[in-house]
């Protein structure tokens, strides 16, 4: 078997490299920075990592139950109770769709391009048909709803609703009152389950161990500056030190625009593809905030969601939508020992006036004030804000978007990121795409790299 190059040393890059190596290829993984992991340094939630993916990769790790979620509001903090009747009923409803959603997320999306066989199309309708008429219609009804309307039906109060909705919005450009946000919430919760012991760090270590074990040649500080395309076929890459590496297969797990525009270049793209890539939407609405706490906040809770109710959440989205600083951001905090890692929802990548020092200081203050209403903020020190613009420059997250592309109906399943790029094909022979912008969407699943490598 031939040689393969994987671009990007994030979770999907490692997963793709392991999968290709397991198929007998000689794999070189190229990471531009000195460390591996990419987005793992930002996201610290492994609940949506799919067990099938872990199994497919043969990772050596343990699953643990997710820590209780503490909901911090301006009127008090409490642990979200999954056994509360309205909540339990809603989770039951979600569970009826879980097998379908997990099945969809565990396989490559059907090819809907012209020329796809009818049988293939009908085959792809099979999982839907398995739902049955009543549940199928219910999914068609729920999908387009806004999350707040859907959860209102269940009788869950709007404060608790916000705690359930907020995590699902990180990958979208939506508020709880945007149509189709119900689908994002449904997918997020259907994909969520146990977490990985040691969290994202535990996962990353397992990935690296497995990659080394599989014989992947991992190179850090090896920044790819160009994908070499000869006669319409990708045949290798050029590194920033000028070295050329040749291979039979190139698989990119970094951002789609970066891959197609910077590395391949407009001139080598097939007709229409440049427009398709240009139109992929990845508008980041999340900043990262890190700090240390002298003693544990929130009673030492590991997982905390800071948001008052769905109105506050919608207003946080409004702030991002109007490109202004969030006045009441929603936050998802992971507390490990004395370190706090928060994802701050409501921070626009394209902030009016840009992310100046004043803007950064102002948001830092807002974050501390918001926390101060719910915990002893005087214990916090070493706070550091990583804006969506920083996320883009540090981790290559286009538009600062944590998932390389918004979760939206038109960027979903066979349409993710765009039908011309569906099926992990780039439109250029020999170049495959396996980054977070590909199917499956809806959470950090680890599926893209594996499925892409599986298609090679």
């Amino acid at each position: 078997m031939g040689k393969a190059l994987v671009i990007g040393g994030g979770p999907n890059g490692l997963a793709a490299a392991i999968t290709l190596a397991a198929k007998g290829r000689s794999v070189t993984l190229l990471e531009g920075k000195c460390t591996l992991g990419g987005r793992c340094a930002v996201l610290d939630d492994t609940a949506t990592v799919q067990p099938w993916a872990v199994e497919a990769l043969g990772l050596d790790l343990e699953w643990v139950d997710a820590a209780p979620l503490v909901h911090a509001t301006s009127t008090g903090n409490h642990t979200i109770d999954h056994d509360e009747p309205a909540m339990a009923a809603w989770l039951c409803e979600v569970a009826t769709f879980t097998p379908l959603i997990r099945e969809l997320s565990a396989s490559a999306p059907p090819n809907i391009r012209l020329g796809a066989a009818w049988t293939q199309l009908l085959g792809s309708a099979l999982p839907m048909a398995k739902l049955g008429r009543a549940k199928g219609f219910e999914l068609a009804r729920i999908g387009p709803l806004c999350a707040e309307d859907w959860l209102d039906e269940s009788g869950i109060d709007r404060s608790t609703q916000a705690a359930l909705i907020a995590p699902a919005l990180l990958g979208t450009w939506m508020g709880p009152r945007s149509p189709t946000s119900a689908l994002a919430v449904l997918f997020h919760h259907a994909l969520s389950g146990q977490e990985i012991e040691g969290g994202m760090e535990g996962l990353l270590n397992a990935l690296v161990r497995r990659a080394n074990g599989a014989g992947v040649d991992i190179r850090t500080e090896a920044r790819v500056v160009r994908i070499i395309v000869e006669e319409g076929r990708a045949v290798g890459v050029t590194l920033d030190d000028g070295a050329e590496l040749r291979a039979d297969v190139v698989l990119s797990t970094i951002g789609l625009k970066n891959t197609m525009f910077s590395l391949v270049g407009h001139r080598a793209l097939p007709f229409g593809l440049d427009m398709a890539v240009e139109n992929i939407r990845s508008r980041g609405v999340v900043a990262q905030w890190r700090a240390t706490a002298a003693s544990p906040l929130f009673g030492g809770a590991e997982r905390v969601v800071v948001v008052d109710d769905t109105t506050a959440l919608e207003r946080a989205f409004d702030d991002a939508k109007h490109r202004r600083l969030p006045s009441r951001p929603a936050m998802l905090i992971r507390q490990r020992g004395e370190t706090l890692n928060a994802l701050v929802f409501g921070a626009a990548h394209d902030l009016d006036g840009g992310w100046s020092d004043e803007a950064r200081i102002s948001l830092q203050k807002t974050i501390l004030d918001t926390l101060g209403e719910r915990a002893d903020a005087s214990l916090i020190s070493n706070a550091e804000l990583i804006t969506p613009v920083d996320l883009e420059s540090t981790y290559g997250l286009e538009g600062g978007h944590l998932f390389h592309g918004e979760f939206a109906l038109d960027q979903f399943l066979s349409f993710r990121p765009h039908p011309m790029l569906s099926g992990y094909k780039s439109g250029i022979d020999g170049l495959w795409l396996g980054g977070a912008g590909m199917h499956p969407a809806g959470g950090f699943t680890l599926g893209q790299g594996i499925l892409a490598a599986g298609q090679v």
């Binding site: 008429r133 709803l145 109007h322």
Partner: protein, 529 residues
């Protein structure tokens, strides 16, 4: 007891009248009952102020089906549709944009903003025209039922699937994007000028409680282009005599075919015995019986108001209670002493012979939506304006004018509660006039009379539940086989012999007449009366 009528139709709105006309034409004995003193429901014309005729609510002919015009001989009964010739968008900074049917002129206008957009505009129109051709049968036929295993339904679905594939990859994708994306996102893939995107995007939000950046709002853009391919029949326009003239033409046609129509005859109750509709009880206590009852009223009002919860399956009641109405718009009608000049383009030119959009940019529209989201009317609303008197001088005394202003957002659910709307009515009217004064400073001084309709008024006066002008949100989960609710999209209802024919049924709101026509077709086909 023998029934007095083959069919009683509750509500003399345009859809009820269309349904009546078709049934009467097929030889059925039909009675239409209208609560108000004028026919037409929300499609009515009234002389509220002496000498000035207002199209009180609905103000344009939107996709009135050409087949209905022909079948019911509406031209013979007085329907005369004047085409809306342009779309004019003034901006607060004194610039403006006029789009007309003349490609060269429109190109020049758009090029003043962006040469690229001027190039793309006709291409966009062409693509949308092709999609409109694909989508048109959807509004001309009953909704497909994807869950059905009936051979007939399956054949229809396969046909639809085949037609979708025949569109080809590019158009197929475009159609999919159109159904799922927000109007602004969709248009932004084509155009770069916000001043152009904003007024175009507005057609996606009219009547909905959504913003131009909310997913799913792109779809209604297509309706504009559907109008164009109806071509000479001019299904997108303005009726001579106001919107009520359409209803009156349909009513005359219905009467010609033998239908009986009563005004001031509000229905208090639909009589149901043993799960079967038997007739109606009027507000004055009169009982009338018929083989079938057809309601043109909004579904929730029909079932929870006129039938009663206890007659209905509980699952259906749950569905109805979830049915989203959420009116989001109001209307201001003005009688004007003289024509108010728009400062960006004074005078009564071509730009006053169409509709005028107050939608200067997409952020403006989203801010207007934000106000509504949190329970208030927009301080700076989106407005769609027509001057009926420019197109039809008979609408006002000589030299004077009527101005019809559709205003969004005016949410039914204001934070004080909907019944507090009357106290806010004038403040709402003032916000409209104040905003308009930014564009035509002389407007304030030329107003002789002002009629302000809030969503509360639309509900109380016209039976538009929660003030929703379409009898229910035109959102994805309330369209096609899910309109009004899943399982009951074919005009039938859980009550035997009770049918729906209003905008709450497929294909939805607007002065299309399609729900009325399709309901009549289904009723006649099944031999229900």
């Amino acid at each position: 007891m023998s029934q007095q009528y083959d069919a009683i139709i509750v509500g003399g709105g345009h859809n009820g009248l269309v349904c009546a006309a078709y049934l009467a034409k097929a030889g059925r004995k039909v009675l239409v009952l209208e609560k108000r003193h004028v026919l037409g429901g929300a499609a009515c014309s009234e002389e509220i102020y002496p000498g000035f005729t207002y199209s009180v609510c609905s103000y344009v002919v939107s996709l009135l089906r050409p087949q209905i015009i022909r079948d019911l001989k509406l031209a013979r009964f007085g329907l005369h549709v004047l085409p809306l010739e342009s779309t004019f968008s003034p901006y607060p900074d004194g610039r403006s944009l006029l789009r007309t049917a003349n490609p060269a002129e429109t190109r020049r206008e758009i090029a003043a903003f962006s040469a690229k957009d001027a190039d793309v505009y006709p291409l966009f129109g062409k693509a949308m025209g092709q999609l409109a051709r694909f989508a048109k049968p959807i509004i001309d036929e009953k909704a497909p039922d994807p869950g059905s295993l009936w051979p007939k339904e399956l054949t229809r679905l396969l046909k639809l699937g085949k037609r979708f594939r025949d569109l080809g990859d590019d158009l197929g994708l475009l159609q999919y994007k159109l159904t799922t994306m927000s109007a602004v996102d969709f248009l932004s893939e084509w155009f770069e000028t916000d001043e152009l995107i904003a007024p175009m995007a507005c057609s996606g939000i009219i009547g909905t409680m959504l913003g131009v950046k909310s997913p799913g709002t792109a779809y209604v853009l297509l309706h504009h282009y559907m109008g164009e391919i109806d071509g000479a029949s001019r299904s997108w326009g303005f009726a001579r005599g106001g919107t009520g003239a359409i209803s009156m033409a349909i009513a005359r046609s219905a009467q010609h075919f033998g239908a009986e129509i009563r005004t001031n005859a509000g229905v208090q109750q639909i009589t149901v015995r043993g799960g079967e509709a038997k007739g109606v009880v009027l507000e004055d206590g009169t009982e009338l019986s018929a083989k079938i009852v057809i309601s043109g009223a909004e579904p929730r009002l029909t079932f929870l108001g006129l039938v009663g919860e206890k007659e209905l399956p509980s699952e259906f009641v749950t569905q109805l209670k979830r049915y989203k109405l959420r009116g989001s718009s109001g209307k201001v009608n003005l009688a004007l002493d003289r024509f108010p000049d728009f400062s960006s383009r004074p005078g009564i030119g071509m730009h006053m012979r169409g509709d005028i959009s107050i939608a200067p940019n997409t952020d403006y529209l989203e801010r207007a939506y934000d106000d509504a989201k949190y329970g208030d009317f927009s301080k700076k609303p989106f407005m769609n304006i027509v001057f009926p008197s420019v197109l039809d001088p008979d609408m006002a005394p000589e030299g004077k004018h009527v101005m019809s202003i559709f205003v969004q957002y005016a949410p039914y659910h204001i934070k004080e509660g909907p019944s507090h709307w009357p106290e806010k009515r004038e403040a709402f009217g003032d916000a409209v006039i104040d905003t308009l004064s930014d564009y035509c400073p002389t407007l304030k001084d030329s107003i002789l009379h002002r009629q302000v309709l809030t969503p509360w008024d639309l509900e109380q006066e016209f039976g538009l539940t929660e003030g929703n002008i379409f009898h229910g949100e035109l959102s994805l989960e309330q369209l096609l086989f899910q309109r009004p609710v899943s399982g009951w999209a074919h005009y039938k209802t859980p009550i035997h012999k009770l049918w729906l024919c209003g905008s709450g049924a497929h294909p939805g709101g607007g002065v299309m007449g399609a729900p009325g026509q399709l309901a009549a077709q289904e009723i006649l086909k099944g031999g229900a009366c």
